[in-house]
């Protein structure tokens, strides 16, 4: 799963996160640059981004709308982990209320809907929603490879639950068709298509085995040592 602290994190950002610098309003500059770097280079440091949101929470005059939405879009790509939710908790409720800041509340509400669809594994609906409004394109434009990142997450989660999946179902979930779908399935995911090219075979992994198991209690002498000692002490 996603590690909390990516290896790309530079030392000066670690210093901010782990020390009192995290409360210095000036630290937002470095954290915003770092977010930009994450957006351009397809990795996410949710911990650092939460530090930035925390600074916004404490210093609302510093808030930049597009930074907040970029953080949320980045967190979207980490589903089904609670990163999006954790970020949302840090956003001041007053700026979520409609009418306070023309566009931000609407943008956040829209991203929240996307997150609920991803969390709820309604992938086909997610792609349809993403297509339904130009605002989504604006919101995700800064995030390099947003759609690819989402597809990769979906593929990973599918591989945890499926041994075989109908191509037609998978195409809807990935929002890919024909040659593009085949390319993703065989090259990116490394899965196989059967002869009729209608069923995708997912290699075995510990998650999609669903092995039968029996949990039995391990009993050893040590567990009774107290009772035994007590019995002995009472006699003595």
């Amino acid at each position: 799963m996603d590690s909390e602290d990516p290896q790309e994190r530079p030392d000066d950002i670690s210093t901010i996160i782990n020390g009192l610098e995290r409360y210095n309003p000036e630290a937002v500059v470095g954290l915003e640059d770092y977010l930009r770097h994450q957006c351009e280079n397809r990795y996410t440091d949710c911990n650092a981004n939460r530090t930035l949101l925390k600074l916004y929470q404490l210093n609302p005059d510093r808030i930049k709308d597009e930074v907040i939405t970029n953080i949320l879009v980045k967190a979207l790509t980490c589903f089904p982990s609670p990163q999006f939710t954790l970020a949302l908790h840090l956003i001041p409720p007053s700026i979520l209320a409609p009418n306070s800041r023309a566009e931000l509340p609407e943008a956040i509400a829209k991203l929240r809907e996307l997150n609920n669809q991803l969390q709820g594994a309604q992938y086909a609906r997610f792609w349809a929603t993403l297509d339904s409004d130009d605002l989504y394109a604006d919101l995700t434009t800064d995030i390099e490879g947003f759609e690819d990142l989402i597809r990769l997450r979906i593929a990973t989660l599918v591989s945890h639950a499926y041994r075989e999946v109908d191509l037609s179902v998978l195409e809807q979930w990935l929002d890919l068709e024909g040659a593009a779908a085949q390319k993703f399935i065989t090259e990116t995911a490394g899965w196989k298509l059967d002869e009729g090219a209608s069923v995708v075979k997912v290699p075995r992994n510990p998650e999609n085995e669903a092995k039968k198991s029996e949990v039995r209690e391990d009993v050893n002498v040590d567990m009774f040592s107290r009772v035994v000692r007590r019995a002995w002490e009472e006699i003595a």
Partner: protein, 478 residues
Amino acid sequence: MSALRNGSAPLRAVDDDSDVEEEALVADYKEQVQYEDGMEELEQVNSLTMAQQTDDIQSRLVAAAQPLDFSAPLEVKFQSYDSYCNLFHFILNSDGPVDLEPPSHYWAWDVIDEFIYQFNSFSSYRLRLARQARDNEEERQILRDNPNTWGCYSVLNVLYSLIQRSQITEQLAAMKRNEDPAAVAGEYGSKTLYRMLGYFSIIGLLRVHCLLGDFSLALKTLDDIELNKKAMFARVMAAHFTTYYYVGFSYMMMHRYADAIRMFSHILVYVSRTKNFQKNAQYDSITKKNDQMYALIAICVAFHPTRLDDTIHTALREKYGDQLLKLQRGGPDSLPIFEELFKAACPKFISPVPPDFDNPEANVDPIDHHLSIFMDEVKTNMWSPTVKSYLRLYTTMDLKKLAGFLEVQPEELRAWLLVNKQRTKQLRWTDQGLLDGEWVNVSDLDYAMQGDLIHISEAKVGRKLVDWYLRNLSRTYN
């Protein structure tokens, strides 16, 4: 005997959740209650001599730990803030460490607890006034003119300064390595007053971060503190209790339900075992939090069905039996119950910045904010109980057939199955920092899909008899 009994190595290595551990805790608490009885007499003597000496600073120390009347007027709340600032300024910024002994071993906890409590209730009060535009214009004006009183930055500043001054982080790290904390304590940290204030400030930070909705930072704050009976906070009942409530709550908000249940269970078992010799007023305040934690356990169990400790299971059924049944059934009917329990049991969340007095409607209650986010997670998972109850009946099942039983579209059911499958994997604490853990399968039900064919396997859990046997055996001994 001091609250900070560091360095005393445990006589036997014990498992955190074991019976031995509990008994040691209970014995420890008995001792503490008896000790407090002794303290009261001591305090009476003290207050006599103090009156004679008119020892100003000692009485200020005592006053700082006294609860402020809930209905105290705004003016008193401002004064209280000033006296905390003066006291902490004196402690932190005098020329070298001040030479003071804390009035009691739980004094430091009481001060930090009261300080945060007043900050919390002040913030809530200020927001309430800002939301009601009609009356109290006078008080609203005072609050508008003094945005920094009980400000979030100053509260955080106090807590962090106490932690830094006392070198408590370094001391705890040394203790973890089984080294002498005195070697790294420095001239401040070697004094009981600083060490205790520093220590409880860490717990204070856990609480403040949680109140502000920063749940991962809240848990991160406790990195240096080991949650076990050797922990210093375990020596002060209220601190022990508070710590577990906030840690458990933070876990719940991070969707780590198994860990949350473990935390709540631990402290609730402890409380139920100590209540027979609880006699002071402290226990009344604990009763309310106690019920709140049962409500939170009910929520977590709905997300993550598991076997609870017998004592807790019985108490839970007594207190929230009807609600628990509805939660466990899931579906839209369970949503109002989730809301009701969450609202009753969550901390009184606050906003770190002053409200907007000119736009009453722009001030959203932070509780509603956090609740609505939490409800998103509830809605995502609300079909899992249904799915699981059906899957348990089969070893293989056709998806379309099951969708027919449930009267939903196959696509909908595929989503439910994926959601439920994802949530059976949870990060579970082992023995590292509270934020770390291992990814484990927390459910006894597992399945995998082959096209539309669902293969289901259920882990058979044999009855655990050893614990039951030992408990009953020890009962017959007593």
